[in-house]
Amino acid sequence: MKDRQDFPDVRTLLAVVLAITSLAIAINDSRWLLLLLAITLACLLAAGVSLKLLLRRLRRYRWLFFIIALAQSLTNGSGRALLAWRGYVLLSSGGLLGAAAALLRIAIILAAVGLLSLKDYQQMVVGLTQMGVPYEFAFMVLLAVRFIPVLMEEFRDSLAAIELRGVDLKAIPLKDKLRVYSYLLMPTTAGALIRSRRIAVAMEARAFRAYPRRTWLEWPRLIPWDWLIIVLALGGTAGVLYLKIRGVIA
């Protein structure tokens, strides 16, 4: 087993992501959320994560952003009414602020998760195991997470395959469209099942869990900078949460 230093360590990144996402959920004030977003982006830049790639990822969720913002502005009628219809407030200043906070919150969470892209799958498993998560559990969770983009790609491929057979999904009636989408679940599910079976066989062939203990090729060690960041992230979060409980920040 190689004793290795690899800054920032997975545990450091997980602590930072945990701190940022906890704060994003706890804080409601848009100004504080804006500050948190700025800190998150600064962390990403410092870690060398491409903001271009992050923007591309955020763009994929634009519809989710829009729906959440719309739901917030329609359901939150507090503050000054900006648009009303027959006495029902459609848009209010409180609704707009709520929508802004919701959008900032999602952007912060998605950006923070981008920090984890610095580590590969194997490093994540080791990191989680070092934190006390049972190896099998860490392995299973990350295996499942790794498959999400694969499944999405398969879904897109199947959609493209249908269109390549000359079926214009925009032009066909709703009934047929629903039929097509229900069909798409089939290859995606079948593909996932087939792949899971193959992976299970491959893992057993490599003696997964055959022995009570396993040997690690590398066992990263925390350096003082890691400790400093972990303490700052967790301490800062505890401080902000304390201020929130005391009502200093919303």
């Binding site: 790639l53 591309r56 398969e154 491929d157 199947s158 493209a160 395959a161 249908i162 269109e163 390549l164 057979r165 000359g166 079926v167 214009d168 999904l169 925009k170 032009a171 066909i172 047929d176 097509v180 069909y183 798409l184 089939m186 290859p187 079948a190 593909g191 087939i194």
Partner: protein, 216 residues
Amino acid sequence: MTYIQLEQVSFSWPRGEQVLKDINLAIEKHDTVALMGPNGSGKTTLGKLIIGLLAPSAGRVLLWGEDAAKYSLAARGRRIGYVFQNPERQFFASTVSEEIGFALKLRGMSPEEAEKRVGEMLGLFELEAYADTFPFNLSQGEKQRLALAAVFALNPEFIILDEPFSGLDWLRKQHLLAMLARVGETGVGYLLISHDEEMCARLCSRVLHLEGGELR
């Protein structure tokens, strides 16, 4: 009017890795063309650029004399068939018959006509015995034949086949060779993406070599 034309086409992945560089190519409707090259030379990328699964970073793809960007995937698919490198990727039905007939019905063919066409394809591609089989349970050779049958059922003018011989033994290759020869006899042109020199030479009238992202 050239059926498929590529003008100074280049393609790079978003992270900057260049796959194709200044490709100029013209393919006529009834041409039987082979595109050969080592792994990673950009063969599949070129096929995907023609069919519209990818967009060029520079240059233009022209289909039927016009900029291909104006055609949707469905519009391209109505005239050009595309058989994926991994045939599983194009299956979405629960039986072989349904896989062949699915798009026919959605494209407005009557159930009787569609059934007749499915029967013809099952016969032509020797899949009668598997009509009610789940496509994912077929062997690699049978999957290749089903992928071909599903595309061929739609009467394409031209077919792009991505590595149809991969994973097949000699006997299965001969089998598929005979099938493709039959397709060629019907007047349907094709672009065969492969690194099987023997098959390309036997099936195609023109062989293109792609190396390091450039046509040689």
